[in-house]
């Protein structure tokens, strides 16, 4: 069974999303979901194997570090199991899972803000772009540092976004969902998602341009 789940996981990761899944894959996954709904924990474990990469990836992109991504992924699967009985098989399971993931990440970000009293996410390396810039002068592997610096800039830029804009940009530009799929996952309209995406892209551009100009000056 783990082999079958791995096959399904591989297919779900590499096939296009939405309605383009093959019928065979859809039936296999639907069978797993119906068994899990009936309380079969083994089937639920197969579902986790199929979807864990996607959930952990989104959680990391929303929260910005591995530790929080692990906690969020765990919470997502717990909530998924808890509310699986309410899941309508006519729905897209992955869209439903994205929605749970985004909600869990929002909750965790709020909790962290309350505890830390600062920005919702923290950089994986714990360094600001300026710190990385300073290291670049002394590091021989400048290319690697530049890459890390750019990643840090993007992470900081994403940190400046409101939760909904961040979720929209992560799902649309990084996960590659269509505007309609993002709207379903976020529980809003496609027009709202388009507006959120447009605003978020403009903010990220402004943030990145500012740091890139500063680096050129240095």
């Amino acid at each position: 069974m783990p082999g079958e789940a791995a096959d399904i996981a591989h297919m779900t990761e590499h096939l296009p999303r939405g309605g383009e899944h093959t019928e065979e894959l859809r039936e296999s996954f639907a069978s797993l979901v119906s068994r899990a709904k009936a309380g079969d924990t083994a089937a639920f474990e197969q579902i986790m194997i199929c979807t864990q990469h996607r959930v952990a990836r989104v959680a990391w992109r929303m929260l910005g570090n591995t530790e929080d991504a692990r906690d969020a992924t765990q919470e997502v699967f717990l909530r998924t199991f808890k509310y699986l009985r309410r899941f309508d098989p006519a729905q897209d399971f992955h869209g439903w899972l994205y929605r749970i993931t985004v909600n869990v990440c929002r909750d965790m970000a709020r909790q962290r803000r309350r505890h830390d009293g600062e920005s919702a996410s923290s950089l994986e390396a714990g360094r600001t772009p300026d710190e990385l810039n300073a290291r670049a002068d002394t590091n021989e592997a400048e290319a690697a540092v530049v890459l890390a610096q750019r990643r840090a800039i993007v992470a900081r830029a994403l940190d400046t976004l409101p939760e909904k804009e961040r979720a929209a940009i992560v799902l649309r530009d990084l996960e590659g969902l269509s505007t309609e799929e993002v709207a379903r996952a976020l529980g809003s309209s496609p027009a709202t998602v388009r507006s959120q995406i447009s605003t978020a892209r403009a903010k990220i551009k402004t943030y990145c341009e500012r740091f890139l100009k500063r680096r050129r000056q240095v």
Partner: protein, 272 residues
């Protein structure tokens, strides 16, 4: 479209999120506007940077730990959950179940009421008030005709009420805290005005009827018709100096007991 309009569309244009018409308008404008073309390039660069936001490669142990923790919590929750908790949510989910529960409650309530009501009517005399009146008359040996003083109260026939929950009945039930056997016991014991007074007071409507009938009966000239009606009333001489008159209504829960000194005007000594 001017540059300002185009600039607002560029964030969506760079990722192909515009409709066909807007997309072609932006294309035409960018062909002729270097400033907007520059902004468009900035958007492309920032979008390329955005795609660098990829997580590290999580290993199998990372995922295995998550699955283990999740399944552990699920099994813990299943163990901790009470047995009835597994079926209770399903039991109360369907609206049909609510209706069935309501119907069941109604049936049980109706059965309980029926049992209670039949138990109260089991001890009712077959011929209603007449049987009880005859018994009490035989026990005392009193003749309604002979022992009756000249101005004795006429026998009373209280009109039968079809509704078992009429005003008088309700008050009578409230006064009778004991089961229906209680009135029969009253017939044989030495009653005192203090004991019987609440009964009379409770059935105030009936008493009023009795009073009216008594007054009218005293003027009745035909003794046969009066004696025929006396048969419906129980006359008991409960004490040497007291005359006890019991009137059994058609409702077994209502019995009017009249106590009066002998050879006195009943209408003046009546207890209301």
């Amino acid at each position: 479209m001017n540059c300002r309009n185009i600039e607002q569309l560029l964030p969506l244009y760079v990722e192909g999120d515009l409709g066909a018409d807007e997309n072609s308008s932006v294309n035409v404008h960018l062909h002729s506007c270097a400033a907007c073309r520059g902004i468009s390039e900035e958007y492309r660069r920032s979008q390329d940077l955005l795609r660098l936001h990829t997580p590290p490669e999580f290993d199998a142990a990372f995922y295995a730990g998550i699955r283990r923790a999740v399944l552990g919590e699920i099994s813990d929750a299943e163990v901790a959950r009470p047995v009835f908790a597994s079926f209770l949510p399903n039991l109360f989910r369907a609206p049909l179940t609510y209706a069935a529960s309501g119907a069941l409650l109604l049936i049980v309530g109706a059965l309980a009421f029926g049992i209670y009501y039949s138990s109260t009517t089991v001890d009712r005399p077959v011929s209603g008030s007449t049987a009880a009146s005859n018994v009490s008359t035989e026990e005392t040996g009193a003749s309604p005709k002979t022992d009756q003083p000249p101005d004795a109260p006429a026998p009373v026939i209280i009109p039968q009420r079809k509704s078992p929950e009429s005003h008088a009945t309700k008050y009578a039930k409230a006064a009778h805290s004991s089961p229906p056997q209680r009135p029969r016991e009253v017939l044989t014991e030495q009653a005192t005005p203090q004991v019987t007074a609440p009964h009379i007071e409770a059935a105030d409507v009936s008493v009023a009827n009795v009073m009216t009938a008594l007054t009218e009966a005293s003027d009745v000239s035909d003794p046969d018709s009066a004696s025929a009606e006396v048969a419906n009333a129980g006359l008991t001489e409960s004490a040497p100096e007291m005359l006890r008159i019991e009137l059994q209504t058609s409702d077994p829960n209502i019995r009017i007991i009249w106590l009066s000194p002998k050879k006195t005007d009943l209408t003046t000594n009546s207890t209301k």
